[in-house]
Symmetry: C2
Subunit: 549 residues, 2 copies
């Protein structure tokens, strides 16, 4: 049977991936777990494929790795090789990569080791840290398809600005990662390299759109990764995969060289930010390494706001948003929030409830502004190659009206967007709230293809508030998270609420999914938000394992 033209093009993308995988580290099929095995998070240890030293290395945070390399205890070369080996296993289990960069990464690591040997000094604050990179962040002379078959031959002429800065700081890029068609699913499948799986439960999605990154940091294929976020695309996969993620205030991190079909669109600003396997501290390390290089001096769209070092104290007010007033979170999420509340109160933090402010209105504005052109440009991308739209692509496109907004209509919405953001900021101040602790999603992690509700994350894109994800330490537990008699009596407020609530037919569907929490801070209080996330996580994790709230 002859392949359609789009399938031939898509095959090119698979060939790039296939040829890039370092074959020497591939696991023979016979040693892989059965495809029916859902939870593969412990496979690297259980399989014996990685040495104890490699397991130790891949278990360290970026901050710890840099520390060990700075003491000469680890070399950059062994670090990157350990993560590449783990990435190869991850690829075989989760299909999270679009291209391995093994040779370049190892060569760069050797250079770093030579520099260290010669000078006794690290190159920079990210010396030797392997970083995985979402595919649409461009590398010089590499293809960049952004999840569209039409762009399978699109070659980027320069490294993205962010990559240059990270490289200056010593980072090593070892693997590029998967994203959904259109970059607008909170799920991760496309017609090129297919569907990425969640390492905690392979019937679940790793989330999206930075789903390959979610799997990467969740499976510890990299201590740090780079995602992008316009409605939750960093935070959702970080949450679903048990990792860390940070959406900075827009226009702080450099965006130049990140490829998207709708380049120049600014009705809603996408952001790029760090994801991590191990700690909030690593996200701070990333942010500081980037912003200390004053990227606004070259990329003039950015705000000239230096990164400050901030440490949080317990003298803060955290508001808990139990429910956004639109869609009720599933029981495991509520359990994690209850646990968090108890721990925070016990630690002397002031905790109040957060009454959400017109989140439905917020969603209407932001979702209308994603595609002011009625998704015409995105549909054109599909037509160009002839590839079919995936269901969640249609889902995202359906946010827009079929007919493009006029410019005037878009301006009205842009003005409302600004007013809404101002109102949210004023409300935080009036209520004396510093941070909002909330779910990242109604579900701990969506079942594959079911990631339909975005507004626990998109609301902070709408208000342009910095927001961080960290794991609560809890996972979905069928014993603890069964629907109670009261839960069974819940009458949904609307169709969307009903749809999302009905997905939670049984906790077994979500078994082993990590339960994340999201903390959002005031506009431009990025440093404070990460510092608060760190403190809140420390407090919550104090004795999480014994908690059975």
């Amino acid at each position: 049977m002859s392949l359609n033209s789009w399938e031939r093009k898509a095959q090119k993308g698979r060939d790039i991936l296939e040829q890039s995988i370092p074959k020497q580290w591939m696991v023979p099929q016979s040693q892989l777990p059965l495809v029916t095995q859902k939870n593969v998070i412990d496979f690297p240890r259980q399989s014996g494929l990685l040495s104890e030293r490699e397991l130790m290395i891949t278990g360290l945070s970026a901050t710890e790795l840099v520390g060990e390399m700075g003491k000469g205890i680890l070399t950059a070369e062994e670090v990157v090789i350990a993560f590449i080996k783990r990435s190869v296993i991850g690829q075989q289990l989760l299909n999270f990569a679009t291209e391995f960069l093994a040779d370049e990464a190892i060569a760069r690591a050797r250079e770093l080791d030579q520099h260290y040997k010669r000078t006794g000094k690290l190159v920079g604050p990210l010396h030797g840290v392997p970083i995985s990179v979402k595919e649409h962040i461009g590398f010089k002379n590499k293809t960049c398809n952004t999840g569209y078959v039409a762009w399978i031959d699109n070659v980027t002429t320069e490294d993205a600005h962010l990559l240059r800065l990270l490289a200056n700081a010593g980072a090593v890029f070892h693997v590029r990662t998967n994203q959904p068609q259109s970059l607008m699913h909170l799920c991760c499948s496309n017609n090129i390299t297919g569907t990425t799986l969640n390492p905690h439960n392979r019937t679940l999605t790793p989330g999206g759109s930075s789903g390959g990154e979610g799997a990467s940091v969740g499976f510890k294929c990299a201590p740090l990764g780079i995602g992008t976020d316009i409605g939750g695309s960093i935070r959702c996969p970080a949450a679903f995969c048990g990792g860390y993620g940070f959406r900075p205030t827009a226009m702080r991190n450099p965006m130049a060289g990140i490829e998207v079909a709708c380049i120049g669109q600014e009705t809603i600003h996408g952001v790029v930010g760090p994801m991590g396997s191990s700690s909030i501290e690593d996200l701070e390390l990333f942010q500081k390494a980037v912003l200390d290089q004053e990227p606004w001096e070259d990329e003039t769209s950015l705000m000239p706001v230096p990164w400050k070092s901030v440490t949080a104290t317990r003298d803060m007010t955290v508001a808990i948003m139990w429910d956004d007033g639109c869609v009720r979170p599933h029981p495991p999420i509520t359990r994690a929030l209850r646990m968090a509340k108890e721990k925070l109160l016990a630690a002397g933090i002031k905790v109040v409830d957060w009454e959400p402010y017109k989140h439905q209105r917020g969603w209407e504005i932001i979702s209308s502004l994603y595609y002011p052109d009625g998704a015409a440009l995105q549909r054109q991308m599909l037509r160009e190659s002839g590839e079919p739209a995936r269901p969640l692509t249609e889902w995202a496109f359906s946010y827009s009206r079929p007919i493009p907004l006029t410019h005037s209509e878009a301006w009205v919405l842009q003005h409302e967007r600004d007013l809404y953001r101002d109102e949210y900021q004023a409300l935080l101040k009036r209520r004396g709230v510093d941070f909002i602790l909330s779910p990242a999603n109604p579900a701990a992690a969506a079942v594959m293809g079911e990631s339909h509700y975005w507004n626990y994350t998109a609301i902070w894109n709408m208000t342009d508030m910095p927001a961080a994800i960290f794991p609560s330490g809890l996972t979905v537990d069928p014993d603890l998270d069964a629907l109670t008699a009261q839960d069974k009596k819940y009458i949904p407020r609307n169709e969307v609420d009903e749809r999302e609530w009905n997905k939670y037919q049984s906790p077994q569907r979500y078994e082993s999914a990590p339960i994340a929490l999201q903390i959002a801070g005031r506009h431009f209080k990025d440093e404070e938000t990460l510092a608060a996330a760190k403190l809140v996580e420390e407090i919550i994790k104090g004795d999480t394992k014994s908690s059975k709230l």
Copy 2:
């Protein structure tokens, strides 16, 4: 003859103005100069209508006024009365106002005086400083027509954010000022309150769109005024009227409550900024008073960038842009630049020539982005009332294509805009240039209705660079500025160049027009740009009067 409906509406605007003029200070018709008298700049002194003390007061800068009030030498009441009296004369000669706020201003001044008497302290850094305000900057419970008859009954429900901050700092608003229909002429006439004249030569325009403000500060009706600028609308009238003006980097000064038909449009960001009668120092005073109040805490579109105090040193490189590569400046402008170069060199400043970078391309991008909707919304504003479009309104609308840009087309231009700004920034660095000294316009001041070429100012909107206007101290002099034999041989590069050059048929057309200079700095270097403007002006004015370059 019965009036058309739009004329009846427009009459309402004239009634507001008429009723607001404090009649007790109006000059009897018989004492006014003949309408054929072009230059009326010295009328307040020559006429004997103002006392010596009032002439002294209205001759002071804002900084000096605050100083005198702080010492108890002047009262806020006598200050504001002096400026109101001068404004009434200005109105009779130049038609620059849309509404006087005499009673409120005097009442507020009395409050300030009482505060000072009670506490011995000033209310803030702008204590008692009378400030004139461009009409489309909204006052609570006052109409705000933005130059359109359709909005003659549009009542603003709140003071603009900027006005609230200035009032906190002690400012007193005594007069609202004229603007052109559509706000998009570098001239100043509309179908409501008519045409504003240039105090130095009433056959010339005061410029626009902040033309009422230009006349206000040029005639010293206020030491400080507030203009807005999306293509030169602060700088052009400051230049044409012999005043000072500053276009800050976008999103520093608060914009909320400034009324425009296309609210929410952000393809090109308009800015609001200070204009002044007397000094760059006053512009700094204004900026500091506003930004010290951290407006970004309430208006979250703004950048959280505090105002720094900066003093310029002679260790800087100033590049002179003699010509933008598109339209040759008229001889008086070139004379002023030559004088400036000589003085700067003599003062030990490093001076180089500035080779303009694709200014035609810059203009194509910015002019296409003014009306991505093909000016549909603006035309709708005209249709709503039935008022006719004025010639310069059609001129501005003609920048757009007749058919609206698609969103995709606008995004491409927005991306090009960002790249162009980045390229300009990179070029400044590569050439080691700190500031660019240039004309503000091809003409010293355009003949009424002839203000067609914007790109000596719009280019810095395009690159979002801060830019200040100050008077060179020179005025157009028919003896010095006659076309030379060489000038007469000039072969224009294109039709636009020819059109602008041909306007300079004889220096007599521009007699007495002040010759301004413009200094632009790097993106976000607002403080440095004002500091440099101050130093450059000091150097140039050192012995200007004896200069006959």
